[in-house]
Symmetry: C2
Subunit: 322 residues, 2 copies
Amino acid sequence: MPVESTLTPGDTVLAAGRRIADRSGETPVMTSPEILDELLGAALFFKCEQLQHTGSFKLRGASHAVSCCRMTARAWPRIPPAITARPWPAQLRCAAFAADVVMPECAVASKVDNVRRYGGQVHFCEPTQAGREAGPGRPGRAGVLTAVPPYDDDHIIAGQGTAARWNCSSRCPDLDAIIAPVGGGGLLAGTALAALTRDRHRPQVIAAEPAGADDRDALKLAAGRVEDHRPDTIADGLRALVGERNLAIIAEHVEHVVAVEEDDIIEAMDLLWSRLKQVIEPSGAVSLAGLKKLAGQLPGQRVGVILSGGNLDVAPLLATLR
Amino acid sequence: MPVESTLTPGDTVLAAGRRIADRSGETPVMTSPEILDELLGAALFFKCEQLQHTGSFKLRGASHAVSCCRMTARAWPRIPPAITARPWPAQLRCAAFAADVVMPECAVASKVDNVRRYGGQVHFCEPTQAGREAGPGRPGRAGVLTAVPPYDDDHIIAGQGTAARWNCSSRCPDLDAIIAPVGGGGLLAGTALAALTRDRHRPQVIAAEPAGADDRDALKLAAGRVEDHRPDTIADGLRALVGERNLAIIAEHVEHVVAVEEDDIIEAMDLLWSRLKQVIEPSGAVSLAGLKKLAGQLPGQRVGVILSGGNLDVAPLLATLR
């Protein structure tokens, strides 16, 4: 399903935003002028995707891809269901879709619970890149389902890009830079396309990635590192390899990729939890961790920081209070 | 400093709101219709005081009391400074005030850090009721300072009551009930006064208190329990005894007091952290814990739940991720 050819790449994000307006929520922008701006030496605008329905930006791409399936379904009513690696919310349960969701065996329990809560059927795969790509061993209804890849897909990329629309908030001026985490590259590529829509003042786009999930394809942009992909990071949302479509967009439009260590991620979580009072999962804190690594390189600039999600198991953490 | 006699008790909260509008932020209301409403069997409207500057509602009462001192200071410029058990924000540092803040020795480190970050001078007292009332052993400049009690004070009560103004949010209809935590009783008494301002549809006011900080004065309203006061609860913000002024208001206007166990508090924190993605301290989760105890008693009602603060040391919790 190619993106409509009459649209520029940036326009696809705007079109996706209109298409999913009724099923993914607008998320707020938070600021911390006295503490975090002071600490980082820049004016920060945090895009709060942890407050999206389902707790992460991923609803955006999934909703968009499904809405495109839905259009297909109207034409060919016998091929409506979709198979995807993303959960989506209750309002879509009634939309004549069956959601079969492929997740790695080691997926965080709260994420598996959420898929089931919203009516999805979970299929586990091996927690490797090959496993992710092969999907479930026994696909069940897969023969009659439409497959939606988790990130290497134009509809997914355009949908994820809607998270990077700061202009919707009147509190936020034009940005000089946007920093987003990179795993499979859906959010990052979408963010890069979203940045293209700003004719007057186009922000540079910066990626942040856990060093433990270093991804030769993405990181070579920055440092030429080429290593085997053996993801080992608490940022469970960023363990995938960058997709092909994603890489093409990233190579063209992303200025810089910063690698962060595990301790950087936890330190960034501490800042976000204690200063913004927001529960941000490790993957969601990677952009702030990356920004800290760049400290001093964006002096006084207006920087958009995408907090991509807040889904983690808090029970073991809270158990330490007992 | 008595409350102006021309005002009704409810009016004092409205007047306090106008007086502190430029120094305490309006806090948002969050909802969770699909998950928490479903679980609790009521329509819940969470007032997010963890998003107040300084991370708790306490700025409201402190700002209000200080603004009253300030008026005095204009008349008698040699008596401006204040001594209080509440921190306040940077914008007040420049307001010709010296903030000397009395805190118990066992105060949570993040709270002590915050007072110092905002320019306050910390004086530790013994972590007992007698210690709290005696204040610091060596008061330093206390001889020339104006003392502001932490809760047993009309200005503090009226200021804290401004947290209970849901009407400011257009998303929120008239409430049938409001539930607030009780420690010294500043927030609860203020909430009770705020409820009086609703002529058309006056919500019942419910208090929630940790069983480990049971307070015979408050609890006897509900169950006639009379025990020695030996606070032992993780809800560090609720260990104080209810003040005299506070008790008078609570006895007249609060319908019900619910006691919650420590496990109830942690379970409520889990719900708020994982569903609303908000870092809520133990004291701040006590109202939801109380509401859970009342499950089924408020069927389908519109209930305002005050999340009173989000200041806790998250570093030890996050350390478990390493």
